[in-house]
Amino acid sequence: MSQILNSLVVAKGLETQYALEQIMENNLAGHVLSLVTYTPDSLNKIDRTPDLVFIVNQEEALTADEVNRVTKMFPRCTSVVLDDDPERQRDAFIKAGADEVMSLADLRSPLGRHMLEKIIAFRDLAAAEARVEASEERFRGIIEHSNDIIILLDTDGSILYASPAFGRQMGYELWTVLGQDFFSFVHEEGLAQLQSGFRELMMLPPTESMSLEFLFRHRDGRFLTMEATGSNLLRNQTVQAVVLHLRDVTGSKQSEVELKIYRLHLEDLVAQRTREAEEANRRADLVIAASPDALIAMDEKGVITFASRHYRTIYPASAQVVSEGNDVMEAFEVVTKEVGLSHDDERYADMRAWWQKPKGYKEFKMANGTWVRLQARRIPETNGIVVSTTNITDYKRQQALLAAQSEELEVALAKEKTIVEQQRTFVSMVSHEFRTPLTVIDGNAQIIHSRGDTIGKEALQKRAVNIRSSVDRLVRLIETILSAHMLDVGKLVVEPKPCDLGKIIRDVCSEQQDISPNHRLKVEVRGIPPAMVLDEKLIRQSLANLVSNAVKYSPRSNTVEVSAFKEGNMAVIEVQDHGVGIPPDEIEHVFSKYFRASTSSGIPGSGLGLSVVQHFVELHHGTVALRSKVGIGTVVTMSLPIGEGRF
């Protein structure tokens, strides 16, 4: 029993309050007393309900009304009126709501103590009842507001009770289902199982429970998946029913199904991805196999992670080493042996350095002549490197061919350029060659025209000779050019017949002597047959070219020697001058068309003469050769075979 008693004293005077205090302390130690002087306002301020109210009627008398006001204010607590003469107004005060009227002496007596204890006992009982009531209230609240449906069934399955959650979730008014057969709401699928479960449940002791799952019909007709936990409380005096806790698991059931479908879908997806990856791998393998390149991949530590089968074809002896898991530098050492790259070879160190840190590309020629190109590519994702090896032998061969061709082309172009330049010089020279004799002809004609009658016969004759020799020079020039042209177009006709070569030589020299009175031509002919089968015109023109060259290119020396003799089966004619000569490196070109030696500068000429001579002599199956020294002179030797039947 609690010893704590909240007491309230309502009094008009303070003396009595003090006395009361003492009483309470003496008799009811530990009790909390609140002392309040009675006024309506001060009573209003009391914030908690006391267990006991003392209404003091001593110094200042209270009326029954006043007592009634206080007891009304605290209807549930015990009100004791303390009065010196309790009997005087007892009836009036009891009527006004007081529970007891007693004097202070009564309060101190066992009667008072008994009264207080009774009050305490009542108070405790009231508190317990209140707690039970609150607990029931709470329990009801839980059941009423819980989302778990609680259903009590009788042994025959009729519904004794259904919690409000049932109504909310299943859509039924509760009163419509009470007394109904629970199983009539259950879908026939699984109904038999549920009924047998229900029978089993009724055999269970109250401490155990069992789980059941079934489809329950909502008021709108659709079936919800319900999960039930059942307990057998048939023998519990209060309940006397089978209790089912139902939970709607349709949502989670659906989620479960969805999850299951999704998992299946995922599995499908994984399988598909795996197939795709395998397919991609297979394709990559095919591509690598089909590629003409050999591929090798290594990680950042230089360990081979992949080597394509082509390595076996390129380096058959090293195939074992060039494989997954091996160190690339170890493989390199074996491969260098196979390709015949010795350690002394300067390319060895170069290649080694490259393989240690492959970057860009490298070309290499193996001992067997095969060219390969190594090309490194970094794989950013893994920091590894892929090196492809390509056989570029064909490419190298074509490159070399191309280089050779372009060189040939360059040579041809240079040659073409030279020819063009030579032709330009030729045109210029031809113009000069024509214009000089024309000048003589024209000049002499002008003189004869203007002073023909005043100049003497001798002078006139001299002018005529000058004109004729110039004409002769022109004719020879034309013949040379024409001959060159005929040779070019292959239309030169050789007309051989027996003729006197010695006479031809002497005639040519004599004619040249007439034209060049400042030079002395020495002629010596001996031992050549009197009759040789030749095209006289061609030989005469050839000799005339040689002799006029000798004169032309020896401006400061006046002697030209022409000699003819027999040597073996050949008639040899040598024409020697003491003129400007030809530099040694130019001699080989002197028989080329349009070529003119550097020492010929300022001396007129077409660059055709010697070329024509060579062709004419070759038409006679003879040869022509030239020896020369700059500043000393030149000797041209022409050899013609003796005998008939060569044409």
Binding site: T436, G443, P604
Partner: protein
């Protein structure tokens, strides 16, 4: 009339020009090579030069080049080129040496004579 130096390697041409210029009343000094011509030029200091352009050894171009380069005091002596080189590029190549005239062969004597007369008067 005038003292003319004639430089020409081709004998028939030189002889013919000598005849014509003499008949016209000039006193003509002959030279058959460039070297000889340059020598006689410095020696005789002629009033006018008639010179072949293309000659073996020292060409007419070189003769004038030497005169213009080494002997600027003779700048006023007219220099007439005779040439069988008719390519415009050949003619352009001597322009910087400022020849007084440039005659292509064959030479019209009347035109040459008129040119000489004009150059001497000025």
């Amino acid at each position: 009339m005038a003292k003319i130096l004639l430089i020409e390697d081709e004998a028939p041409v030189r002889e013919m020009l000598l005849d014509e210029l003499t008949v016209q009343g000039h006193s003509v000094i002959e030279a058959s090579t460039g070297e000889e011509g340059l020598e006689k030029f410095l020696e005789a200091e002629p009033d006018l030069v008639v010179c072949d352009r293309a000659m073996p050894g020292m060409s007419g171009y070189e003769v004038l080049e030497r005169i213009r380069g080494a002997h600027p005091q003779y700048e006023d002596i007219p220099f007439i080129f005779l040439t069988a080189l008719t390519d415009p590029r050949d003619k352009a190549a001597v322009d910087h040496l400022k020849p007084a005239a440039y005659f292509e062969k064959p030479v019209d004597f009347k035109a040459l004579s008129d040119k000489i007369k004009g150059l001497i008067k000025s």
